[in-house]
């Protein structure tokens, strides 16, 4: 009888359960069928500031992907790296206009929305102008970004953001929409297209398995 050799995963992902940026990469790894070792970094305990973690990411952010000798931080960079190294289940369409649209949507999430509601920035605002203003700032920026995404995507037919396949735009949008609803109480009825996209995405096992509550470091 042949022995079944189970190889340990070659990839490691430094992640925090609640981090929407980490969620993006967990979702992508699941879609590509790539197994990985989950390395929890407890942001609430400041584990991102240890010298060991700083070597991995001098910005002290999760997620960070370690693939053999290669260390990649930043979810956008990680996605593009995974796309090239593990081309199965492509997360960028071949069509140049749709590819550009996916890159743009991901940029809107990662540059125009998420940084403006990052915990550290909100804490600063809370100190300076109070929790109400801080929440309002987060909501205003999320809504500005969602308005833009709604306009960008409303005329595209398909189950998902840019068609009938899940691509990078979906990978970035799904955790962002979930965070918007749970943490910032955004009224999603203003964004019907985004709602429909999210309905399709949240049914996917790859998305659910990547969700915060299902991670090793989730606190219930």
């Amino acid at each position: 009888m042949a022995a079944i050799i189970v190889e340990p995963p070659k990839l490691a992902l430094y992640s925090y359960w609640q981090s929407s940026c980490s969620w993006r990469v967990r979702f992508a790894l699941n879609l590509k069928g790539i197994s990985y070792e989950y390395k929890a970094v407890n942001l609430s305990k400041g584990e991102q500031f240890t010298p060991e973690f700083e070597k991995l990411n001098p910005l002290h952010f999760v997620p960070v992907l370690v693939d053999g000798d290669v260390v990649v931080s930043d979810s956008y960079a990680i996605l593009l790296y995974l796309e090239e190294k593990y081309p199965q289940r492509a997360l960028l369409p071949a069509d140049p206009q749709l590819k550009a649209l996916n890159l743009q949507v991901a940029s809107i999430v990662t540059s125009s929305i998420q940084p403006l509601h990052m915990l550290s920035n909100l804490k600063y605002l809370e100190q300076k102008v109070g929790p109400q203003e801080s929440l309002l700032f987060a909501q205003t920026n999320v809504e500005k970004g969602f308005n833009a995404l709604e306009k960008l995507l409303k005329d595209i037919n398909g189950k998902y953001a840019t068609g009938d396949e899940v691509y990078m735009a979906d990978v970035f949008m799904a955790p962002q929409i979930a965070a918007a609803m749970q943490r910032f109480k955004i009224d999603m009825s203003k964004y019907p297209r985004l709602c429909r996209i999210f309905e399709s995405l949240k049914a996917l096992p790859e998305f659910l398995d990547a969700s915060p509550e299902r991670q090793l470091d989730a606190v219930h």
């Binding site: 001098p58 990680i78 140049p96 550009a100 743009q104 809107i108 940084p115 306009k151």
Partner: protein, 250 residues
């Protein structure tokens, strides 16, 4: 093209005259007002560092383009015409025939694929990933926190005195990270001896830090050295805010 585009930069066209040509480049600058159908169009604002990134890319690849200014201070990004091009109201936007592409990262990747001359991404995947990381430190962790809308918010809701400390904090945090990220990899330029994507994102950010937010560059020796290197490249210099058609005259 009549004389063909060779691999090395031989000739590139800009829309504004008056730039010095360095002796070691066999580059001829031609002022053109041509408005051919096939010409690339770049919607840009002189001071936008995101637009600056793409202006550098177009220059390095020897791509002629029509510069279409969008005055962000006057709110031209909210015009119905521009909203159709980019509903989030940001520059730059690139129009290439039927293609309309917004967001500097997306535009950069499009140009890299469509116009492979003078490649701006290394073929080595680890080095390529390093470029993506450096670019994103700028585009996600620094630039969004110093854009006009956020600064206006800080000025109005927190205090006008908080604007500079806020931006300096984020720039310095990002610059510290970049110093650490790049120190074992930099050569003449950010990730080696060839200009690449990281340099296109770094150059405008470093200049903004120095010229607009008074960042103390003594703390950032690598970035200071890179800034010097960029000051010697006409493609970077020509893309600078003050050299754009919509820059206010001195």
């Amino acid at each position: 093209m009549g004389d063909g585009l060779e691999e090395e930069r031989r000739r590139w066209l800009v829309t504004k005259v008056g730039v010095k040509v360095s002796n070691d480049l066999t580059v001829k600058l031609v002022h053109t007002q041509a408005e051919g159908e096939n010409k690339l169009k770049l919607y840009s604002y002189w001071r936008s560092s995101c637009s600056f990134r793409i202006r550098i890319s177009l220059n390095l690849k020897g791509l002629e383009y029509q510069y279409i200014p969008v005055n962000l201070l006057k709110g031209e990004q909210f015009s119905p015409e521009f909203q159709k091009l980019n509903p989030i109201g940001y520059v730059p936007v690139l129009v290439d025939g039927d293609m309309i592409i917004s967001d500097s990262f997306a535009i950069f990747m499009y140009l890299e694929e469509k116009y492979p001359q003078h490649p701006l991404l290394p073929s080595d995947l680890a080095k390529k990933a390093l470029n993506f990381q450096a670019a994103n430190i700028v585009s996600s962790s620094i630039q969004p926190l110093q854009n006009l809308a956020v600064l206006k918010y800080i000025e109005e809701k927190v205090s006008p005195d908080e604007k500079i400390p806020w931006t300096r904090f984020h720039i310095e945090k990002g610059f510290e990270a970049l110093e650490k990220l790049l120190k074992d990899h930099a050569g003449k330029y950010a990730t080696g001896d060839e200009v690449s994507m990281a340099d296109l994102f770094l150059a405008p950010q470093i200049l903004a830090g120095i010229e607009r937010f008074n960042v103390d560059m003594a703390k950032f020796p690598l970035l200071s050295r890179l800034n010097e290197a960029y000051s010697e490249l006409p493609e970077f210099q020509n893309a600078k805010p003050e050299n754009q058609p919509d820059a206010p005259s001195a």
